[in-house]
Symmetry: C2
Subunit: 179 residues, 2 copies
DNA sequence: GAATATGGACCGTCTGGTAGGTATAATGTA
DNA sequence: TACATTATACCTACCAGACGGTCCATATTC
């Protein structure tokens, strides 16, 4: 198999394991098996577990970022489009969010400095959201509320029913057009 | 030493380790050392690591809950007091939040069903917040935004400066009086 | 002397990582 | 063109250390 796609397949295998089974199941053996490769083969591509997680986080962050960027690009209304992109992508694409959760958790657990790429992406988003043609306090609150939904998903502590959730989404979205 | 206080000291030692060093450092040996006890002694009080984490989560959840309850009880304005309590306690007491993070992360990592006590607490809070004498959508958004701050703290991905944070806090708090 | 509380040696298992090998493809060179 | 060399992409076997947990001895208290 050609190198690059196998390397990405390994990263996908890793985040799948974390998302489905938890961080303690993220072992080199498990990743190797999930990716259909031997441990030696795995370590050929990523020379340590830490490097593997580092690349996994970067991969997830860049995927997430490009998804939000393209969503914003497709928005015809200039004002609030970046806030809307963040809101829409995070509120909707639930499955992929789980992978992102996986990356965050793994990074935080193994070595918090691995969160740096995420940090950068968030700093950029926050800047965009504060300069989105609307009141920055309001757009930041929209972002934070979106993150709140995310947190609830992450820990499966979401006591908000889907009907209520939809109403909240609608309210937040309406705010991205006002003022 | 008397039994109960030692048991609690062990739980505190455990959450301290997770908060300061991460989940992978939460070993029985490390907890025993932090609590100034031998591993045998530790296992006398908690017969397995899973039980230890279970009790730790319950302990943290009950602490957090009583803090919010007492804050709400001290609020003289009936309308919105539960939402305010959640907002104030979570926005302010940052250090103790780290312990709560610790509990959530450890539970999620070791066995997601250990999150059940947290789940119950949150369900109760959500109910309170939706019946706080204000528009439930608004109070829920306040809660979610508060959680968003929390998430950012958890992963150290908080690109919001403290001045901005204060403005957001003021705005959210103002909302708990309106309507 | 029984219950409670703690210490410490020990064990089986799992894990990250190493060592060293093989097969195939790419590249150089006579 | 034929042959030699290297680089790429894996695999198997293995090891040293860490970890959860057991077992049993010992204090201390009531």
């Amino acid at each position: 198999m050609e190198g690059t796609s196998r390397k990405i397949a390994i990263l996908d295998a890793a985040s799948k394991i974390v998302a489905e089974k938890g961080i303690f199941y993220l072992t080199l053996d498990a990743v190797a098996e999930e990716a259909g490769i031997s441990k030696g083969g795995l370590l050929y591509h990523y020379r340590s577990k830490e490097v593997l997680v580092e690349k996994m986080v970067e991969h997830l962050a860049s995927n997430y970022k490009s998804k939000i960027d393209s969503h914003a690009a497709e928005d015809s209304e200039e004002k609030g489009k970046r806030t809307r992109a963040y809101l829409d992508v995070t509120f909707k694409n639930t499955y992929k969010n789980k992978d992102m959760h996986a990356g965050l958790l793994a990074a935080k657990a193994i070595n918090p400095t691995l969160l740096n790429p995420i940090h950068e992406v968030y700093t950029e988003w926050q800047h965009d959201i504060e300069n989105d043609g609307l009141d920055p306090i309001m757009t930041t609150i929209i972002r934070l509320a979106t993150d709140g939904i995310w947190l609830a998903d992450l820990f499966d502590i979401n006591p908000i029913d889907s009907e209520q959730k939809e109403l909240i989404y609608n309210t937040l979205r309406k705010w991205t057009f006002e003022r």
